[in-house]
Symmetry: C2
Subunit: 512 residues, 2 copies
């Protein structure tokens, strides 16, 4: 069938969608989601350059008339030599082999290395549609992935993008997330780098939390750099704290995540390759994995966390990464401040003055940094934690952080009080006295996001006291900051509806 | 967030997609596939009219700029009072409850009636995205559905559309497909109707085969009617042979099928409710189900077919339909002619002259019609088959068919030879002598579709002899018809590449 190309002013990204009028689709006996081969009008041979399109159907001639082939703006560019053609030849096409492999996984069979490579290659090229990837992710969620499959997937994802190399001793820290206020990377990286280890930290922006490390760091300095610039930075000061999303690392993983996220599915079989592929792309050789466990995290129980850690270490080893895992408490925020600017402020305050605390941030950061120091031979087994505290106390970590801020284009001399908050704020005071028996991370996240986190960097929550603390009637529970009065009002409504994140016990506790 | 509505000249059908610029999506902390609430700019209350949109993201300001909300042409119409607004207010939204129920199914849990109702309602309203439905279908494929779940799904699908009622004794025949040339409905319906039973036959167009009953019937008369007209036709002549797709029956089922088809998944848990919901919509109370078994059908072995029949009968009974199932041979085509016009011609020839055969068409049609005659009390148990043959032989079935053709707007006096074929045709002759040991349905389908079936009604294959027949060197194997010389050439290429559908054994057979 010959069709005239009509550009559609819309983008589809990773899917090679094309639009047929319903009458032409009927002639080809193809329905939405099925495929056609698109070829040069003059080429008759099958081996000549062709393009596979996944069909969308238009019932309106106004949009795509019979005889027209709708091609999306971004796809048209990718079509190369076909782009300049006014007319193309189309024929029905079958699904790619990679879809047969997805069907194998759905049936519960194990996939071979080549089969996983095929799925990954076709995801990147756009040959697999989102509903097909959804079926794959659902199949993996139900049947799981063997160690061998995860290894193949990790390597295939890594190969789908760019790779950096900083030599044989490159360290990193990663967290599986789920705790608000987890600004530990802003402390760990300068400690570890100050000890002389190479730690090129890539981090994410917030996915479900009020602030990711990249969001908080961006308050102090730019975080988006091309890979050439990253090489230069790490070459000079053996560290960085940047946004991984600006680099073309493991794009296949990003495509899977785009489908996993709306499905709210995050099976281990995809999560482990996802973490490791990105670390491999950054040339990481040794890693400490922070595994927050408990309500609201990916691991409801300590046992779940342990199981995951065991599998993670095995897969990591097989792809050339030495991993240590640390199960960490996640029942309340790390430190007191939640939101990009507030977290940057709390981290900077601690880096400048150890005595400023807070304890939970010191303990968690230095524990994890200590593990890396031991892995890097900077401390004997069991001595890393103390060494990390020493480096932090000494001001060397702060000096390193200033280097990082400066080389990334920020102001190294910025003082915590110069970090802008709000400008709108509201203090919430307690209506009764009592001991704090619980801090609800879920409500904290809800209020913080309502206040504008993470997009508004100056928004967030500052909590006065945490679990075990005593609160008097009328005492400040927390302060809310926002870039808009309206958001502040909406957040206060949520506070009133939920009772807020700070749960006070009655007097019973004192009478014991 | 306030956004200006911008219409996108593209359709999305059952999905309520809207497009945000990536910067606005970041502000809302939402990614593609997640949701927003869209409200009247003047309404502040949550209970006021609102609309849920599933997010697509534009990275190009040219397509959707910050501050704009892209709404697809067809969605804009459905948005009712929002349509006329230039500006709307949007807020982040969570997935609907129905998606939680899909997740339950993915986890292997059983769904309650209300939960299935929710999934079906949200599929129809467009609240569930295609990737979410893909996850549901994959989950059902892996975990199956309990009888109770299938009953709930059948009833929910039925309720999603229109329902007709022709009283307490309404008969039907359905086939699960997979055999080329299966034009039996064109014989069964007039036989059963001639005996005085009500049989309002809705049929499908070809999905994977060269011709569906609706495609073949359309050669003789129109098949698309609104439900009012269907009521009138059946009221007058107690039967019809129409295309079910023109009626608004069980639209929820169609939405699921739109995702099942590109996934190549057709689990029993969805297939049984799909068949039964459409039959209930047509007011059917008693049905014979034709279950072709063997290679190329939905049931590879007789055992698979038996298991399916058992479950089907149980579910049917629970939703108020008495079902009998007949496992049928599927190793070669029914009759000799494949393709819409050829099949109509073969059926009409038999209706006019019993002695014209072919035997396979007579046997299968009268066996299935006989079961319905027994179910309807027109014949004693074991006598239905003979009665059906008698009615067919007597010419009463032909008279009934003429009534059906006439009332549906066709020419009741059309002669088989007046049915147009081709106009291009080519005879294929055997290069050797031998007995036919096999007829390959897969190759027949491939050639027939290459010839233009089912869209081109005059295209198809006419097979000279079938399994067991003797072929002399130079004798005609089959004739190909097509509406285009190019297609005829391509079909011949496939014949040459595959060796064709007619497999001849050596002389060994004779020497035994």
């Amino acid at each position: 069938m010959k069709l005239k190309i009509k550009e559609i002013q819309f983008e589809t990204y990773n899917q090679q969608n094309v639009v047929l009028n319903h009458l032409d689709a009927a002639k080809l006996n193809k329905k939405a989601g099925e495929r056609i081969i698109i070829k040069n009008i003059h080429s008759e041979k099958l081996d000549e350059k062709h393009w596979i399109g996944i069909i969308e159907i238009s019932h309106s001639d106004k949009i795509i008339a019979p005889g027209e082939l709708g091609v999306f703006a971004d796809t048209l560019k990718k079509m190369g030599n076909l782009e300049t053609q006014k007319e193309v030849r189309v024929k029905p096409a079958e699904p790619p082999d990679s879809y047969r492999f997805i069907q194998k996984k759905v049936k519960g069979e194990k996939l071979k290395e080549e089969e996983i490579n095929d799925i990954i290659n076709d995801s990147v090229s756009g040959l697999l549609s989102r509903i097909e990837l959804s079926s794959f992710i659902t199949g993996v969620s139900i049947h799981g992935m063997s160690n061998r499959e995860m290894i193949s997937l990790t390597l295939a994802e890594k190969r789908s993008g760019e790779e950096l190399n900083f030599g044989p001793n490159v360290f990193d820290k990663h967290s599986t997330g789920g705790v608000p206020g987890n600004k530990v990377s802003l402390i760990i990286v300068p400690i570890v780098a100050a000890a002389g280890l190479i730690i090129p930290k890539t981090s994410t922006r917030a996915i479900t939390s009020p602030s990711g490390t990249a969001d908080s760091m961006e308050v102090l300095a730019p975080v988006s750099f091309p890979s050439e610039k990253v090489k230069e930075i790490v070459g000079k000061i053996n560290s960085c704290i940047i946004w991984g999303g600006a680099l073309n690392f493991a794009p296949a993983d990003n495509i899977l995540i785009e489908v996993e996220r709306p499905l709210h599915l995050d099976p281990w079989g995809l999560m482990i390759p996802s973490i490791l592929a990105k670390k491999l792309s950054m040339g990481v050789k040794k890693i400490v994995l922070d595994l927050p466990v408990g309500k609201g995290t990916k691991f409801p129980t300590v046992d779940d966390g342990k199981k995951f850690a065991l599998v993670f270490k095995q897969i990591a080893k097989r792809v050339g990464i030495e991993a240590e895992c640390a199960l960490t408490l996640a029942h309340q925020p790390i430190g007191h401040k939640i939101g990009p600017a507030l977290e940057a402020k709390e981290a900077l305050t601690l880096l400048r003055d150890y005595s400023a605390g807070p304890n939970s941030l010191i303990e968690k950061s230095t524990s994890l940094a200590g593990i890396l120091l031991e892995m890097g031979g900077k401390a004997q087994k069991g001595e890393g934690h103390n060494l990390a505290k020493k480096i932090l106390k000494s001001g060397k970590a702060y000096e390193k952080m200033k280097e990082i801020i400066e080389i990334q284009g920020g102001n190294p001399d910025i003082l915590p009080k110069e970090i802008k908050l709000g400008p709108y704020s509201k203090e919430i005071h307690s209506l009764k006295s009592g001991f704090i028996t619980d801090v609800d991370n879920g409500i904290i996240n809800k209020i913080a996001k309502t206040l504008g986190c993470p997009f508004s960097k100056t928004s967030g929550l500052d909590i006065n006291k945490k679990q075990g603390g005593k609160i008097e009637k009328g005492e400040r529970l927390f302060t809310m900051y926002s870039d808009s009065e309206e958001k502040l009002e909406r957040a206060e409504k949520i506070y009133n509806q939920t009772g807020g994140p700070i749960i006070l016990g009655g007097m019973v506790i004192e009478r014991l």
